[in-house]
């Protein structure tokens, strides 16, 4: 098999150096709010063109996984996601920091990210071609139902009134329709703004929707956003490991959710972490604690989002279709290297692929000590920076981050417009997460619907197309389960209460 040879190749000094450097660079970039993993990969790709293929892949993979992890820093300490994948980490990470458990949260994030990343990479190593075959079985109709499933998560996110959450989701859906319709070619909701023809850019929207409202609120009071006194910057490693062991089911489940979501083309860390979060919350006995600083929340989101790194490479390498947004950019880098993706990649160019996968695994392992160390440093410095400097600094990062992905000024404008709008509706009681879900899932759901409609019509029965396919039926089952479970569980509690009264 020669698998050991590839591992040894991955351990070469150059590759190790790239892995280390990539993880450090990625973590730092991901930690800075506004600078996303996608941007990090986009900006650093040209530098990999002169490297050997395996080395280039290792460098990019290391940056990618470091960035996904790094996003947790800003999420926990600043309540702004460092990258879209860490949106859900703010839900419980920041409250933990406010309670004085910021260092614990950071350590948990690091450990969970490493475990999640390893599980995702493990699937990539062992099961890539078969899993890719599974991905092929997902047709347009399945994606439609998946999109709907994602939208039902809005109900279970439970921030504030459910109706307002659904309205927010609807708003997000509307935003996703801006631009030229993929099927049919209608130009929708564009008016005279030709810049909107390409639709609302998801990354800019995410940066705007999450970072700008937080930025605006930062200036409201002179109180430091985190009290420096309360934070004792230690590792609390023992404590963290204890919590992790208690939550091992959560950890495993979230990592697998992350891997699977990563495999599905188009869905990335942000969706994975939201799904994992909501599933963990739903199944937890401590449901009421979520959102107020529950460690399980951080564990779920951080393991899921790092699992998407490995998972996302599966369709990218096997099918040539990007599993997650950064994968789209990595595909470009692969093409320049002359690597043609496809099932033959694993057989004809096995050395490159397997060396890369081992390198990814190594990078993930390196993330453990590196992450903990950087975490401690970041912790001390972020808490100590005076707010007055923090605000312009973060603002600059949001502008840079939204510009640098596509080098497009319009995206900066989208970012600020959506951000200010989000703050506005936030004041009215509509939170950002449902809007984001609507935006990301709207495209997936609509595309699936319209294509499914066309295919179903051609095959003679649209109803059969949508309802009679095995995978679709499974997804529909989960949707129904998800919608009725909270009601059912609450009813059981009430009945039990009445019986005992």
């Amino acid at each position: 098999m020669g698998s050991l040879d590839f591992l040894l190749a991955a351990l070469s000094p150059l590759n190790l150096l790239l892995a280390l450097g990539g993880v450090v660079a990625g973590t730092v970039i991901g930690a800075l709010p506004g600078l996303t993993a996608t941007m990090a990969v986009a900006v650093l790709v040209p530098f990999t063109f002169t490297m050997a293929p395996a080395a280039a892949l290792i460098a990019l993979g290391a940056i990618y996984t470091g960035a996904i992890y790094g996003g947790a820093y800003a999420a926990i300490l600043l309540n702004t996601p460092g990258t879209p994948s860490s949106i859900a980490t703010t839900f419980d990470g920041y409250p933990m920091a406010r309670k004085g458990d910021g260092d614990l949260a950071l350590t948990l994030a690091c450990l969970s990210s490493v475990v999640g990343g390893l599980i995702g990479a493990g699937f990539l190593l062992v099961l890539a071609p078969p899993m890719a075959t599974v991905a092929l079985k997902f047709g347009p109709v399945e994606y439609f139902w998946l999109g709907l499933f994602g939208l039902t998560l809005i109900a279970s996110l439970g921030e504030g009134s459910t109706i307002k959450g659904l309205i927010g989701g609807g708003l997000g859906l509307l935003l996703s329709m801006v631009g030229v319709a993929e099927v049919g070619g209608d130009i929708r909701f564009v008016g005279d703004f030709k810049a909107l023809l390409g639709g609302v850019d998801v990354v800019s929207a995410l940066i705007g929707l999450y970072c700008i409202p937080v930025l605006i609120d930062l200036v409201a009071t002179p109180v430091a956003h985190l009290e420096a006194g309360k934070q004792v910057a230690s590792f609390r490693l023992g404590e963290a490991l204890g919590i992790l062991r208690r939550s091992r089911v959560n950890l495993l489940r979230s990592s697998i959710i992350g891997t699977v979501v990563g495999i599905l083309p188009g869905a990335g860390g942000s969706i994975a972490s939201l799904v994992a979060y909501s599933e963990t919350k739903r199944g937890s006995a401590r449901r009421e604690h979520f959102g107020k600083g529950e460690p399980d929340g951080v564990i779920a989101t951080e393991s899921a989002n790092n699992a998407t790194v490995g998972g996302g490479f599966i369709p990218t390498l096997v099918l040539g279709i990007p599993g997650t947004p950064p994968d789209a950019i990595i595909l470009g880098a692969l093409l320049v290297q002359g690597i043609r993706t496809g099932p033959t990649l694993f057989t004809q160019q096995a050395p490159i692929v397997y060396t890369f996968i081992w390198g990814l695994i190594l990078a993930t392992l390196i993330m453990l000590p590196v992450g903990l160390l950087i975490g401690r440093f970041a912790f001390r410095s972020i808490v100590a920076i005076p707010k007055a400097v923090l605000v312009p600094g973060v603002a600059l990062l949001t502008v840079l981050g939204s510009f640098a992905v596509h080098n497009n000024i319009h995206e900066v404008q989208q970012m600020v417009l959506l951000g200010v709008a989000a703050w506005g509706v936030g004041r009215l009681g509509f939170s950002a997460s449902p809007i984001v879900l609507g935006l990301i899932l709207g495209t997936i759901a609509e595309r699936g619907f319209v294509q499914g409609h066309l295919i179903g019509g051609a095959r003679g029965s649209i109803m059969a197309e949508f309802f009679a396919r095995p995978i679709s039926m499974a997804i529909i089952f989960f949707i129904v389960l998800g919608l009725f479970w909270p009601w059912w569980a609450a009813r059981r509690v009430r009945l039990a209460g009445e019986r005992n009264a």
Binding site: M177, V219, K387
Partner: protein, 146 residues
């Protein structure tokens, strides 16, 4: 006992959403059959849900989220500065618009008194951040900043 105060802001927001939903349905009348399905559905959803919420507010079954404290003036100023930055980035270029915006934000964010020391320290560190990021992106990473 949670205070049952009518959620007026929520109602206003919902009214806005109803308008948006109606707008979507109206805009969709020009679209092809398949292209109009989602806009119409989502528009209808927004109108329906928004109306339901307004109804809930009227019959008094909503809860108003606790108001936020702190200076609304400063918040609004930040929003304005960010918008201005987004739209002057092109015409003015990265460094000029960035310097102006960051200086403005610095002034807005500082609550305490300005001493010579704080002015120098903050001004310097902000400038370092600005020029540092500029150098990093434009020179090291070859990103074509405006």
């Amino acid at each position: 006992m949670p205070e049952i105060r009518p959620d007026i802001p929520g109602a206003i927001g919902s009214a806005l959403m109803v308008l948006l939903g109606a707008g979507a349905i109206w805009a969709a009348r020009d679209y092809s059959d398949l292209g109009a399905v989602f806009p119409r559905t989502v528009g209808a959803l927004l109108v329906a849900l928004g109306s339901v919420y307004i109804l809930l507010v009227l019959i008094g079954r909503t809860r108003r989220a606790t108001g936020s404290d702190g200076s609304s003036m400063r918040r609004t100023l930040v929003a304005v500065v960010m918008l201005a930055w987004g739209f002057t980035l092109g015409p003015l270029g990265f460094l000029p618009s960035g310097a102006a915006a960051m200086a403005a934000l610095l002034l807005i964010a500082q609550h305490g008194r300005w001493t010579l020391r704080t002015a120098l320290l903050y001004g310097l560190s902000t400038s370092v951040i600005l020029f540092g990021m500029y150098a990093l992106f434009k020179l090291a990473l070859q990103v074509p900043l405006p």
